[in-house]
Point group: C2
Chain length 403, copies 2
């Protein structure tokens, strides 16, 4: 088996380099670190047809992942999720080329499994024995379960309002789970203190460099699934924004490799009206966002008032000619129901927001009718039972149904 | 694209044949119908290496599926779920060759998506516009969502005690959902009456012949994922038993094609102690089961007091030298937690029962230490939040964690 072509870590803010063999969190300047690969050498030794026979998981891209030794791979079979045509809802919003990347079909029911699989595998390779992290629910669930598979201890802190089912996932994994009577930013402060006091590995969003590498496989898969052609637009529900940063990174790597040609897709950060710091920053053409006061949305995964990687998200939007859009909770819940009725797909509220955003951008003319547009559904709707209104008649065993 | 090699329907009880072009439910003799393929012709025109480049969904086996025209395929990207090594729980029960087929990674979060994808696709091909079915939850959720994708109307009836989340899935799809204050057998009677009164398509377990064909792809995938070698034992949580019947049918078809050699795996029907009609029948070496009075188990999907296909399940067990085992609810819940802690997999209670059964059969010597054993996890644990005991401390934002 051919190994990773990873070379080193670098800081996108101050350009400092770090070795790949040692444990690093943030750059000394406070910025997240990114992973670099020896793409020139890889371009000479591989072409994408070699992927054809490989297993349908994200580990098919092992050359572009940071894990050096295959025995450190911690996997639950994650990746290569479907890229589905959505002809009916597409017709409804006059985007016939609408596709959905369905990240509900992953272990733990959300796209967080990608970051956890690669993040935990690399942590194992680095000898990490215990980690801590704040979460809005799904990331904590994924990291707790993958940590269990890697025989690693974990402490997870989530808001009391985070989806209930993610508590179960953490609890059953044996993780040390805490709730906080506040937001993910409050959980983050408690984790930072814990990490400092006890020397734990900080698995907070972007405080370790490898979660992005897992998330970037969404971009690799989209390109491969489209036959190494690029779509026109990708809409991504943006909380911490790691997936969007990752997709952008993936597409740049593929460009450098010469595996894709032409313009990159316009990347769209979709947020909720109740928590839209990136949208506000983009509207003002700022390079970073400001803390969003009293944030609130039913799309819990994107309730992130200030993202550590906001500047990377904004850079990806500006560089690709993308945009940022916010959606009202009412709108995204309506869209969620419409998607289920028209396409049989029960998406999560964050995923539904990307469809609502596509609809809005088509109406405004920002998306053209002939464009290939990908809505990224980040998780399974079944993790958010409260978003569905169920009113159902109860029959007695001897009753009949008459019309 | 090469088409299906389907030839006709036949009755496994009285051997009557039926055409594949027309709509059929049960045989006139009351037995479920099975689907036959022209395997001789297929063996001449295809070998399994041709599968290598195909998409990782169950539709890669289109020659062995009953849908004639690809435009009738209704898909949400289902199939080719992971076959995962389970080394830690395997070591714990002294079966190092323990594998899990993880059906939680399917649309709607359960293996029912396979039956629904193929069943709905064929129903669409047959011109069905409206169906009705009873369910213990997961099948109804899957059929309701796939029906929505196919623009088909559906009526689903489930027990009030069925997993709550499956109500949401049916409701959001636009299905006509009813609850019944009773068991799936009560729901079945109401459906039978409704179907008769209004001429609907009866999608009840085994009352249409195509759900088995979807479920059989589990067997095809297991064989392909093991490199066309067969495991020694497959453990299956048995309610209606369609998956077990389907796996047995798949393996026989592969034998006839010459794609696999040697003895078939011993098939094990796993039931709950509170609902074990197949186990009782197997213990008495009967050909059919008796209605299980006052059935009750936390593993809701296998709360089926009398399965229409019981005789086919028992035949598969007898023919392969398999057995039937029942598990106490307490035991399977303990196993569920152990699997999460040791392997990071949050399986459903029905899936956990198969692990508990493997443990039991190893202890009794029925499974040998060197055998390749597959536990079939039929769905995601996240669909059953009530099975996990969560006790978790709540912190205030200004609090710290000290050890």
């Amino acid at each position: 088996m051919q190994n990773s072509f990873v070379s080193h870590l670098y800081c996108p803010k101050c350009a400092t380099s770090y070795t790949i063999e040692d444990r690093h969190q943030l750059c000394l300047c406070g910025s997240p670190l990114l992973v670099a690969y020896d793409l020139e050498r890889l371009a000479l030794s591989m072409d994408p047809t070699q992927l054809r026979d490989r297993e349908p998981t994200l580990w098919r891209y092992r050359e572009l992942l940071p894990v050096l030794h295959s025995e450190n791979v911690v996997t639950l079979g994650e990746g290569f999720t479907p890229l589905l045509p959505m002809p009916s809802i597409g017709a409804d919003m006059q985007i016939p080329g609408l596709l959905m990347k369905d990240e509900g079909l992953l272990p733990t029911g959300s796209f967080k499994a990608r970051g956890a699989a690669v993040g935990i595998s690399k942590a194992k390779e680095l000898g990490v024995q215990e980690l801590a992290m704040p979460t809005n629910g799904n990331a904590g669930a994924a990291w707790a379960l993958y940590a269990a598979r890697a025989k690693m201890k974990s402490t997870v802190i989530m808001p009391v309002d985070a989806p209930l089912i993610t508590r179960n996932e953490c609890a059953i994994s044996g993780s040390n789970l805490y709730l906080v009577n506040g937001l993910i930013s409050d959980a983050g402060r408690i984790v930072a203190d814990l990490v400092k006091s006890y020397g734990l590995y900080d698995a907070s969003t972007l405080k370790e460099p490898y979660r992005i590498e897992g998330k970037k496989t969404m971009g690799l898969e989209i390109a491969e699934q489209l036959g190494w052609k690029l779509p026109d637009v990708i809409l991504y529900p943006t909380g911490g924004g790691v997936g969007l940063i990752g997709i952008y990174k993936a597409l740049q790597e593929l460009q450098t490799l010469g595996w894709v040609q032409g313009k990159l897709p316009r990347l769209v950060a979709v947020q909720a009206e109740g928590c839209a710091p990136i949208v506000k920053a983009w509207e003002n053409q700022e390079k970073a966002s400001e803390f969003w006061q009293e944030s609130k949305t039913v799309a819990f995964g994107i309730n992130v008032p200030k993202a550590l990687g906001d500047f990377l998200v904004l850079e990806a939007i500006y560089a690709t000619g993308g945009c940022a859009v916010s959606i009202h909770d009412e709108e995204l819940l309506q869209e969620q129901q419409r998607i289920a009725e028209l396409e049989g797909a029960f998406v999560c509220p964050e995923g539904a927001a990307t469809f609502a955003a596509a609809r809005k951008l088509k109406q405004s003319g920002w998306i053209a009718e002939n464009e290939c547009v990908i809505a990224l559904n980040t998780g399974a709707g079944i993790k958010y039972p409260d978003t569905v209104n169920v009113q159902v008649p109860v029959l007695q065993p001897e009753q009949r149904i008459t019309r």
